[in-house]
């Protein structure tokens, strides 16, 4: 790899600003979820995926893939959410095979409210401050980067 070893002050400033914005944004999103619903971003991620599943039911591995998480992280998270009564692990298929994760009624209700609020938050923080041209520019860059870095 070539070692240029330097960025201009402007470039550093741009990078720092960008990173700080991301950090603040993530923090704010977390804060809202925590304040309004008492859940973490990780819990929210599970709720969203299960809510979006066609039959409201997913396997641990599928969750891990779509969330880009470790399988064990999903298992641990589900254990905690099961304790809180948001999800249910059911025996689908053979005995002892607890494949098939589903939202409980309170979990589904929570998911809907949290997703609605999340949409508001995104609109307020992102879209309200973004012109269509800016959004297009960012989208292009995002797609380009994903293409080069995606596993």
């Amino acid at each position: 790899m070539v070692e240029t070893g330097s960025l201009s002050p402007d470039e550093w400033a741009f990078w720092d600003t960008w990173m700080q914005a991301q950090r603040l944004l993530a923090k704010e999103v977390d804060r809202i979820l925590q304040r309004d619903f008492g859940i973490s971003k990780a819990e929210f991620g599970i709720l969203v995926k299960l809510h979006a599943a066609p039959d409201g039911r997913m396997r641990v591995t599928d969750l891990a893939v779509t969330l880009d998480w470790e399988k064990s992280r999903v298992a641990h998270q589900l254990t905690r959410m099961e304790r809180r009564g948001f999800v249910e692990r059911s025996e689908s298929g053979a005995v002892g095979r607890r494949t098939g994760i589903a939202l409980t009624a309170p979990g589904a209700e929570l998911a809907e409210r949290a997703i609605r609020r999340h949409a508001d938050t995104i609109r307020r923080l992102a879209f309200d401050r973004l012109s269509p041209e800016q959004a297009a520019a960012i989208a292009t860059w995002s797609e380009d980067l994903i293409e080069h870095l995606a596993p």
Copy 2:
């Protein structure tokens, strides 16, 4: 707060893409630091700040503020980095007051190499793929967001 409760599919797609790009970018940056220098992003953060300090010396509280970390997180991190021989806590001022954190010689050397490589990584992943319009869009949005969210 108004409850509009919905984003268009396009808006959701934009948001998901953007978030994924950010996630992949952060992951790649971490991976390079870990692979080439065996350090985490957190360790890198400390190295950068100490390296940039005018007299190469900072207090715990200052580090916590500039990094936007908990004070205790800084203390824990410094304990780990002290064990690894990257930083030194010295008694400056009164006895028992270990204010004044500084890089050791190996720590400073590591900081310089890691920062150079980091600059390369950023150039490769971000600037090389970013048109002026895209950069401008991101910069504008970032600044706007920081202004509204900064503590």
